[in-house]
């Protein structure tokens, strides 16, 4: 089946849903150029080599230098960026067994497939726990499969001509191919080779990207930063100023200086390609003529300040202009001050409650649903989050509503009854289940997040107050310790209710797959729902909502399909989300103008300082 598709060119003004709350707009005539922005970062980047980076906040820095073929608006819609244009060339109804002919054998030792090559696809029938040998498609064979017409989807991108990296090298289709190759065997290779099949330069400025199977999210899942040839061959982990290799991209910011654990300085790219190309050349542009094609701030100085109170103090003394990840108390305090502003956006982070669905009495979905009726979501949001979060009535935030439902408000209204605080309904459900009360319920979460622990205490108190449960809260250690325990093979048999903080994306599947899918058992983020504990038909429906050929060809069908799924989730599965974070940044409201927060912290600077797709620009006018 083939089809031609293009994503609609929408701007924030056209979107029905703009996750940025109280969006501040700027009149281009008022913009003042120049100045230095001082930013307080929570973490030092673990590395500047993005494929090796395991910390999401490091992406705040990476995105200043590196760019992708398409770029999203605040609502997640991808728009042409380094690509001048793109098209969906073909979609084929295949699954991963279609690559069998091109696969090679690799031995399995201790459950690990032993090969030096990057594995792209493993045969779906391979069982690494039982088999001695696996059938795998490695990067060496993907070109053959594509040449024979075996692939899930093909997207063709035409690159802008004349785009230059910071080192003067011109961007070509080869850079795109080499950039994908750079992710091979990196710490984050799994993210790329989860859906990506192959990239092929068709001519100097045309590149095709192939996905493994039909995938409604292929266009987003298969876009990665583009690197220059000069740096493509640097060994993984050595692409770091500390190793003498400064980051080089096509982005609007150029690396200047870095002192580990202390500060990072970047300056405005004086030869930024978009200035040359011009906003009028971008197919989505419909803004004013005098809107800047690049950031207008000269320099960003990023201070690494891990302690929240210290960052807040530095904001008050004027040593920094902008920071994020402050506590609810601090946000409230700054929000009440005339000199500061809290820029907010609907976020994708959430607190998830995952039940041990194979352990009595939690193997009965009525018991799980009873717990959900005793979680005081509104109190949690009002008291602990002080309004800097929203209650989770549906299993996805408004942020992911575009592809996840046809009508988010209606969905919330329909599903609210499942998660609303309702001790009477909880009692009915327990009586229906015929379980003896009080039911022992042991919640576990990580100890190094005070708000999360307080939420756990709140939930435990509420359950105990009902008389139906004898609940306790355990905090066995920091996040890494807890995650280590959570992914132990026998965790799901211990009967603990796990509370984990996670982050979804604009893709509704990210609120489905990671936490519920049996394929993710003992991987992020399913430690309690082993294969076989959910009806096979239900799992198939989950998969088809992203990978069905009809869905991949017609994204509009997706929302309808998901509408059918969500209620099943609450009925059958009943694992639930407590609240969705409101993403926030606190800023000096006297000197900074126009700043709006992106729904994910990764866009703190790359979005906030300049993204013409939403006519987003920040400038400094020091009084």
């Amino acid at each position: 089946m083939a089809g031609i598709a293009g994503f609609p060119a929408v701007t924030a003004q056209d979107d029905d849903l703009d996750p940025v709350e109280d969006r501040v707009e700027v009149d281009p005539a008022d913009i003042v150029e120049g100045g230095t922005l001082n930013v307080g970062l929570v973490l030092d980047p673990d590395t500047f080599d993005e494929p090796q980076s395991v910390e999401a906040p490091a992406t705040i820095v990476h995105q200043l230098f590196y760019e992708t073929l398409l770029r999203p608006s605040a609502s997640g819609e991808p728009h042409e960026w380094l690509s001048e244009s793109f098209e969906l060339v073909e979609t084929q109804d295949i699954d991963r067994s279609a690559y069998e002919e091109y696969m090679v054998s690799a031995p399995i030792e201790d459950g690990v497939i032993e090969t030096e090559e990057q594995i792209v696809v493993t045969h779906p029938e391979t069982d690494t726990a039982e088999d001695d040998e696996a059938q795998v498609l490695t990067v060496a064979e993907t070109g053959d499969a594509v040449a024979d017409g075996v692939f899930g989807m093909q997207y063709r991108h035409e690159l802008h001509e004349g785009v230059e990296f910071h080192n003067g090298e011109e961007l070509t289709a080869d850079n795109v191919v080499q950039s994908y190759e750079r992710w091979e065997h990196s710490a984050n290779a799994g993210q790329v080779f989860d859906q990506f099949l192959h990239a092929e330069a068709e001519d100097e400025y045309t590149v095709s990207i192939y996905s493994q199977v039909p995938d409604a999210e292929a266009i987003d899942d298969n876009l990665w930063p583009i690197y220059p040839e000069e740096q493509a061959d640097i060994p993984l982990g050595e692409w770091d100023p500390l190793e003498g290799n400064d980051p080089i991209g096509t982005g609007p910011w150029v690396f200047e200086q870095y002192e580990e654990q202390n500060f990072i300085v970047v300056s405005r790219n004086e030869n930024y390609w978009l200035e040359e190309v011009g906003l009028d050349a971008m197919p989505w542009w419909d803004g004013p003529d005098d809107f800047p094609a690049s950031p207008v701030i000269d320099e960003i100085q990023m201070e690494i300040v891990p302690e929240d109170s210290t960052r807040a103090a530095a904001l008050e003394t004027g040593e920094i202009d902008l920071t994020y990840n402050l506590t609810a108390d601090q946000n409230t305090s700054f929000d009440q001050s005339e000199d500061f502003r809290v820029a907010t956006s609907s976020g994708g982070s959430y607190l998830f409650v995952q039940f041990p669905v194979t352990v009595e009495p939690f193997d009965d979905e009525r018991v799980r649903r009873a717990v959900n009726h005793l979680i005081p979501r509104t109190d949690i949001v009002e008291t602990i989050e002080q309004g800097w979060a929203t209650e989770a009535w549906a299993p996805l935030p408004e942020l992911a509503a575009e592809a996840g439902t046809t009508d988010y408000e209606q969905l919330e209204e329909n599903l609210r009854e499942y998660n609303e605080f309702n001790p009477e309904r909880a009692q009915e459900l327990i009586e229906e289940a015929g379980v003896e009360t009080p039911i022992q319920a042991n919640f576990q979460t990580n100890s190094d997040n005070d708000d999360r622990v307080r939420k756990g205490e709140f939930i435990v108190e509420s359950l105990n107050a009902s008389g139906l449960f004898d609940a306790t809260l355990e905090t066995p250690g920091d996040l890494t310790t807890f995650v280590g325990m959570f992914f132990e093979p026998d965790y799901h048999e211990q009967g603990n209710i796990a509370m984990v903080g996670l982050s979804g994306t604009f893709n509704p599947h990210s609120f489905v797959e990671a936490i519920h899918h049996p394929d993710q058992f003992l991987e992020c983020c399913n430690g309690n729902i082993p294969p076989g504990s959910l009806p096979a038909e239900f799992v198939e429906d989950m998969d088809n909502a992203q990978f069905g050929i009809d869905i991949a060809d017609d994204p509009d069908m997706r929302a309808e399909r998901y509408d059918e799924l969500w209620e099943q989730f609450l009925e059958i599965n009943a694992n639930s989300i407590v609240d969705f974070e409101i993403q926030s940044a606190v800023l000096n409201d006297v000197d900074l103008h126009g700043y709006n927060m992106y729904p994910f912290v990764t866009g703190l600077l790359s979005y906030g300082l300049h993204n013409p797709i939403d006519q987003q620009i920040t400038y400094i006018d020091r009084q």
Partner: protein, 318 residues
């Protein structure tokens, strides 16, 4: 026993201690669930269990703990402290880069502690059981009781936010820059306060004890001015115990640097240690623990040597 033999014997004792520290730390790090790889894949839904295992093998984390320990000790004996997983950086490079910052902070805190403790302790001893002595006791108790974390934040609030005399953030200048003295004041006071309080009490009791001795009575009877008696005769003897305790307090100054460096964004080993624990960078945790252990052992060694120099009887205990 000769002083040389005493030092050699005392030094040899430190070697098994260091091994003990390394074994305990290694065991504790490995007993805690999670390793650098689980941290890398913890929140990454696209990394399969097989891929995770592959990364673990790449860094030798699949080997039995004893084998990992032997490999690690073998590396150290050859000057290789391992690497930061996910990068190609040598652990020792990170430690050497951060160590000067922590040493500077520690020295400042140590100097501050002595500067406050000695005159205050003298004053309290000379004015024993008077109001000044009582006041110093209250101050000392407060200094010991107040957590570094809270004190640091209060100093920032008062002197940086309210009064605006000091900056909140860590400096950009190199350590040898004169401005660094200014930057060191608040974190230095924070790290030195508890030690200062302890030393003050030691100084006070030591001096009070000396003041009761006969040679002091004799000196006074000779008509020596009180100032000369105190500063020339009593102070010198009192400082022996203060010097010894001051060396031992190095341990608390080093351990205090972890909290103080986080509060003041000070780019030293303490902050690196917190990061290493969060990321389960085993080699880095072990290296910092080992360096810290060496520093504390050396400080204690110096204290013992100083004491042995001042009181030769102590050498016979070894």
């Amino acid at each position: 026993m000769s002083l040389r033999r005493f030092i050699l014997k005392r030094f040899l004792v430190t070697i098994p201690i260091l091994f003990g520290v390394s074994i305990v730390t290694f065991a504790l790090v490995h007993l805690t669930p999670g390793d650098p790889v689980s941290q890398m894949v913890a929140l990454n839904p696209d990394v399969s269990a097989a891929e995770e295992e592959q990364i673990r093998r790449q860094y030798g984390l699949h080997l039995p703990v004893w084998e990992q320990y032997v490999n690690w000790v073998g590396g150290i004996l050859q000057g290789d402290f391992g690497e930061i997983i996910g990068t190609n950086r040598a652990v020792e490079d990170v430690v050497w880069a951060r160590l000067p910052e922590t040493i500077a902070l520690g020295l400042f805190g140590w100097g501050f502690a002595l500067l406050i403790a000695i005159p205050t302790g003298i004053y309290a001893a000379v004015n024993k059981d008077q109001i000044g002595d009582d006041a110093s006791r209250v101050v000392a108790l407060s200094g010991i009781s107040i957590p570094n974390f809270w004190l640091g934040l209060m100093l920032i609030l008062i002197f940086a936010v309210v009064l605006g005399y000091w900056p909140v953030l860590a400096p950009r200048e190199p350590l040898y820059h004169p401005d660094m003295l200014w930057y060191l004041v608040l974190p230095g006071i924070t790290i030195g306060t508890a030690s200062s309080a302890i030393l003050m009490r030691i100084m006070r009791s030591s001096m009070a004890e000396e003041l009761n001795k006969e040679y002091v009575t004799a000196a006074r009877a000779k008509g020596l001015p009180e100032r000369t008696v105190i500063l020339k005769h009593v102070l010198r003897n009192s400082l022996i115990s203060v010097a010894t305790v001051a060396a031992f307090l190095t341990a608390s100054i080093i351990s205090g640097s972890v909290v103080v460096e986080v509060v003041f964004s000070w780019p030293g080993l303490g902050r690196e240690f917190i990061n290493a624990i969060q990321a389960r960078q085993i080699d880095l945790i072990l290296a910092i623990t080992l360096f810290t252990g060496v520093a504390i052992i050396l400080a204690n060694l110096l204290a013992d040597i100083a004491y042995a120099l001042l009181d030769p009887r102590i050498r016979d205990e070894y």
